[in-house]
Symmetry: none
Amino acid sequence: MEETRILLAEDDENLGSLLKEYLEIKGYKTGLFTNGNRAYKGFIQEHFDLCLLDVMMPEKDGFTLAKEIRQINTDIPIIFLTAKTLKQDVLEGFSIGADDYITKPFSMEELLFRIEAILRRTHGTEGSQQEVFQLGKYSFDAQKQTLTIDGQTQKLTTKEAELLKLLGNNKNKVLERNFALRTIWFDDNYFNARSMDVYITKLRKYLKQDPLVEIINVHGKGFKIIC
Amino acid sequence: MEETRILLAEDDENLGSLLKEYLEIKGYKTGLFTNGNRAYKGFIQEHFDLCLLDVMMPEKDGFTLAKEIRQINTDIPIIFLTAKTLKQDVLEGFSIGADDYITKPFSMEELLFRIEAILRRTHGTEGSQQEVFQLGKYSFDAQKQTLTIDGQTQKLTTKEAELLKLLGNNKNKVLERNFALRTIWFDDNYFNARSMDVYITKLRKYLKQDPLVEIINVHGKGFKIIC
DNA sequence: AAGTAATGTTAAAGATTGTTAAATAGTAGT
DNA sequence: ACTACTATTTAACAATCTTTAACATTACTT
């Protein structure tokens, strides 16, 4: 397996070097650039496999930089780091071709999770990758968005499936509220949080047929599925 | 494999040189001309395999240039770049013999997708090459626009085939609405979106005979075919 | 125990998608 | 040109998905 190289564009030097240090410990060679222009030059001169771009930077903002990078390489995964989420911004980001979006403050684990998820998606045999979870007597197919028990199959909506997938990824471990909100809703405001609660209720209904499977709340933290 | 040479006529020098830079990184030798007259001279003097023509250019617009190019070479693929889509313009473009049409702003990924699609179509020994998809028990021939199951063959209309081809190209992955609309309808407005929905319904009907093949909606994103 | 915050639940409102049929546009033959 | 036919778009309404609102319940804090 080759070394994965990450381009990091972040004007806050403290945060930047912290991230760089962390990523390198995790085995990613990281190039840190403290403004958009330098990052662009770096991108042209060196080889990178993934870009982490701060949106708000002096001189050249992350979106502009991303557009320029996209002109050179359409495939390289781009993750935006941003202080605050405006739906508008998220949409603009994705229209440029962002692969993910992460709002500050974020934990290092969260960032790593997203980086690895994207690298799996990009490198891996993608598409055909089977995403079937066993949840007690239930079988959940994230691709097809279906939940099956005793031959009975229930179709799930997109959001239901996305949430159950995150829960299933963390069986018997806490899925943090903010993490789920940022991953699925791209923003962790109050209303999205309530929307997520509604979906938790829906999933619980679907999962009633096996009493050994349960989604429990961890007050103030999030939810975990036990099975 | 020989080198493919692209003629690029674009009066906006910033965009032009970015495109050139990008295309060359992708392995296409690119000649950039910043107005129609220069582009015409360039076309006569050098050899090119594909033309990217901006429609709106001072002195000589893209359509006029295309007509002149067509008099010299009836076969060379031509893609128009245009700021805004007027149905009128698209029709005029195709009547001149355009091979494709792309509206700004477009992503580089999108442009590359179209260039490569056309080169496959034009160059390749093609025939039945990569244009036959296996979708569960179905066999779909994008060239012939036919869908076959158990020896029964159903003819598809052009739009039906184009849409199924895009879906088939992204098996088990989400085909984004906007991308499909821009690729097939050249514009992603509300009405085209509804038209696309109608075609999704039609395709679902055709695909009913194999229950393992399904086109599912990913709310707010697009569709994916699973099989 | 009382008060506050977080979660549970249900229903309505709002947005997107599914479907059918009619209107329009395009095509080929005469 | 006209007619007959097919393909595509538009319109209308139905169904589904998501968010928002409201109120109920539970958990935590003091």
